[in-house]
């Protein structure tokens, strides 16, 4: 399955990419996190982040579909 993954803030700097398209066997955001953490070493724990799928907040165990856009969301600091 092909997915688009986007990164923001320190996670973007850590990975060195805004967005990547990946082929994956992961079917949930949680599995995708584990796979990409092994590749990029996010150097943080998943429990500190939220996740969005197709520009809406999602749960970590949601079912992903071909072409989905997944974004891992570090703790926010707006305002």
């Amino acid at each position: 399955m092909q997915l688009r993954v986007s990164y923001f803030a320190w996670l973007r700097e850590r990975v060195g990419l805004d967005t990547e398209t990946i082929d994956t066997a992961a079917v949930t955001p949680a599995q995708l996190w584990t796979e990409l953490d092994a590749r990029h070493d996010f150097a943080t724990e998943r429990r500190h982040l939220r996740v969005a799928v197709n520009d809406a907040f999602s749960t970590w165990d949601a079912k992903l579909a071909e072409g989905d856009r997944v974004v891992f969301i570090p703790p926010v600091s707006g305002g």
Partner: protein
């Protein structure tokens, strides 16, 4: 009306946009770039947003305020990009038939957006370094080893959250 903008926030136009003959009270909150944070001199800020989700979540917060406090006219703009000390980073305006709803709705919007909008702030310090704000505690504890949790918890106590 909710916007993420990389242009200077024009307060007077926003205020005029909220005017309505049925409203007798108006209030606004302005978040300004402060020149210090946790004892360090700050020269400016960089804000980065996940704009598509931030817009959707911002509109959701405004709708929630309407449900809670009644017929309040609300508008909010959050800046992104590089901001100098003293610049306006976020603006929330609320107009309502009476002042109580306006104050409450304005307070609700700024409190919720600080917790929920996918926007991140990087501080530039006078001595030359830069740091993502919420990352400081992580760094202090060592990434991946710290025991604090960020879920729905402010990085700093709310009473310190008056300005950005």
């Amino acid at each position: 009306m909710f916007e993420i903008s990389n242009e200077r926030i024009e307060v007077e136009a926003l205020r005029r946009g909220l005017m309505d003959s049925g409203c007798g009270g108006y209030t606004a909150f302005e978040g300004w770039v402060r020149n210090h944070h946790q004892g360090r001199a700050v020269s400016g800020l960089h804000y980065e947003a996940y704009a598509d989700l931030a817009k959707a979540e911002g509109l959701k917060i405004l709708a929630e305020a309407g449900e809670r406090f009644g017929p309040v006219r609300l508008a909010c703009v959050h800046r992104v990009g590089d901001l100098a000390v003293g610049e306006l980073a976020v603006w929330v305006g609320a107009a309502a038939p009476h002042r109580d709803e306006a104050f409450k709705a304005c307070r609700y919007v700024i409190d919720e957006l600080k917790q929920r909008l996918p926007i991140w702030k990087k501080e530039h310090y006078i001595e030359g370094e830069s740091a993502w704000v919420d990352c400081e505690r992580c760094r202090a504890a060592g990434h991946g080893k710290h025991d604090h949790d960020h879920d729905h918890a402010p990085a700093r106590p709310p009473q310190e959250e008056v300005a950005p």
